[in-house]
Symmetry: C2
Subunit: 405 residues, 2 copies
């Protein structure tokens, strides 16, 4: 067994989540890569020695956050020819060129998927899209806190202050939410994306930004009247032979791919003539999601991602699965119709969630939604129902995917 | 200059689009990879010799489609230790194991991003997600033809036949649409995704599927009544220690990430406890989109995707850009208010798209949307408007992104 030694800098929420996840997934990572990942050492505020940890590592994960001492530590790891994985958007948006130059000079990998977009793999997709397409524009909802607040204001009509308070209660906003609500966090992320997508030097200081602190319920009401959706949108785009990078509250037309991104989700749309547009969306960064993005980077640094599936495992194919169903019956309005249908469903263990009768007399229709049940049981019941004499046409069945939370 | 020689099998719509795109992007690919891509030979129905083309190539692109002779050609290319890029879902969903085994035995890359999801990079994201997360479920709208037809039925109330006819007229459906409308095409793609995400042997023959041919406008009306969206959904999920793969018309709850995927778009949602869910969406396969996905695979085969941005290029940062704007004014209802506001906007070259007055007398509000204009001009106009004596509060300005087509 060959070990792949990971030095961990920082042991806060994300750092400890990453450490647990690495241990939890070590067997599978070893099966995929042929190398067993091990923590070579952990640097916290009060313990651990940077030089020793870097020397003992093949790769260093930086999860301290903020500019210093993270900048110094990352540069020292790169200077020692160690791969680096970081989630540090403040560092990269401010000192990106210095870090990228150091990684290039050292000939090592620098991966930072977790710095932008939570679990949404936007960094990889831009890297790989670039190879084949010329990107014209990137739009992003890259701050989950502000998207949660705007969604709550829209959904429940609460004020900005109430929505912020709710976000804080749920852990979606920090006690000091300044960086998020002023748009500065989103500006840092857009600087990183713009540097990547367009190749130009972009620092967070180059990004004009405006936050959501002054938005009112009325603004949201106006958006609705106009059929628009109010979001904090980051934009990086080619303009007149140059590049514009900015973050603003923005009304989006209803069919825009970002218009339906709600709650604490992040999403990024990449536009290019060759591909039209691709949108990626998923939960914004929580501790476990960020840890998962970091681990993905670590594994990719260990070996290049596979290009074909590994040899197959034995996993039996299941053909009879549970689903909720919609059932539509055209019936002659015989007394007792619903009772007979319900009896058959009940005998097969099918539980009715809702039923509506439309029409009267010979034109009556029953529309039912049933709870999740094994397909075989439901279809057996439908087969029996189809034989009932008062049915005017074959029962219509459509599967239903409902909210599970 | 070192050449990277690409043998092209098939010269139909996608093959010729790929050949043009490769020539168009050769300089940029060379700048990225250090290798200049060149077409080593083209095999068409009437010209070219397979053995010669394979012998002269570093990588073979198979765009013939269908099972034979594509299978034979791909196996021969792999047998000659050449990397292969293919968009052939029929081949991989039927003979995937044989092809994967051959690629593994030859120690070469096999890439097939273009086989599923159009430009949506779902194959890469699953490969890379797998490294760090255990996937529980994949849901996909993986057939653009059927999604276009369902969207048209929902949007305009036309019948299935009318929507199909419209799709054929627009090139979204083939003259013989059987493979698409029966769900078989989606079943093939779900077989490929399931093999990849869950590691189990899955052939298209293992996938139960149902198409959209029998759906009616009434089904769509019922969906709307229930707040649901009717889509052709492919599902691959772990169930009771096994795997279920299936394609069915399905009612989705409104907030499901696939519920708002409309027109000929494709989208895939990947669910895992570690990442919650990630959704990727974009246009389904057209010739140029598929060609772009194929080129992305070719470039990735040439060199592994970068992990950090290349040295920066000179691209000036533009701070004054065009945008459409929403402008909200609280005014005392003075005669001539609108005239004065309009005059100021007009002098700055700002063109009003719509204006609505709410309220009366001292409570009047004007809500305007203006066409795209340079931000500096619009903000200068707002500055002047803000000084007008009849204004009761500061003007409120929010950017607008509108439909551009």
């Amino acid at each position: 067994m060959t070990a792949f030694r990971v030095g961990l800098l920082g042991h806060g929420t994300v750092g400890s989540a990453f450490r647990s996840l690495l241990q939890e997934r070590a067997d599978e990572v070893e099966a995929t890569t042929g190398l067993r990942p091990e923590i070579a050492g952990v640097l916290t505020r009060s313990s651990g020695d940077l030089e020793e940890i870097v020397a003992a590592s093949d790769l260093v994960v930086e999860l301290i956050g903020g500019v210093e001492p993270a900048r110094d530590y990352v540069l020292r790891a790169l200077g020692s020819q160690k791969h680096v994985v970081t989630a540090n958007k403040a560092l990269l948006s401010k000192h990106g060129e210095e870090i990228y130059d150091a990684a290039r000079a050292a000939g090592v990998q620098l991966r930072f998927e977790a710095a932008v977009g939570g679990v949404v793999p936007v960094i990889r997709v831009i890297h790989e899209t670039l190879a084949a397409a010329h990107i014209d524009r990137v739009h992003g909802i890259v701050n989950g806190t502000t998207n949660f607040i705007l969604t709550e204001m829209e959904r429940t009509g609460v004020s900005y202050d109430e929505a912020l308070h709710e976000a804080q209660g749920l852990g979606y906003a920090e006690a000091d939410p300044t960086d998020d609500v002023t748009g500065r966090d989103a500006a840092a992320k857009m600087a990183i994306l713009a540097r990547l997508a367009f190749g130009a030097r972009v620092s967070v200081e180059d990004v004009s930004y405006e936050g959501i602190e002054n938005l009112t319920g009325q603004d949201i009401a106006h958006a609705r009247e106009l059929g628009l959706s109010l979001k904090l949108v980051g934009t990086a785009e080619r303009v007149d032979g140059g590049l514009s990078v900015r973050v603003h509250p923005t009304f989006l037309f209803g069919a825009h791919p970002l218009a339906s991104v709600n709650g604490s989700f992040n999403a990024v749309t990449i536009e290019s003539p060759a591909i039209t547009e691709v949108t990626l969306s998923g939960p914004g960064a929580g501790g476990s999601q960020t840890a998962s993005a970091v681990l993905g980077d670590v594994v990719s640094a260990m070996i290049p991602p596979a290009t074909l599936p590994p040899p197959p495992v034995d996993l039996p194919l299941v053909t009879d699965v549970e689903s909720a169903f919609y059932l539509h019956l055209e019936v002659a309005d015989t007394p007792g119709v619903l009772a007979q249908v319900a009896e058959i469903l009940g005998l097969q263990g099918v539980s009715v969630k809702s039923v509506v009768q439309h029409g009267l007399g010979a034109d009556a229709r029953l529309e039912m939604v049933v709870h999740r049940v094994l397909e075989s049981k439901f279809l057996a019941a439908v087969e029996l129902i189809g034989r009932l004499e008062f049915l005017r046409s074959r029962p219509r069945v459509i599967r239903v995917i409902e909210e599970t939370f």
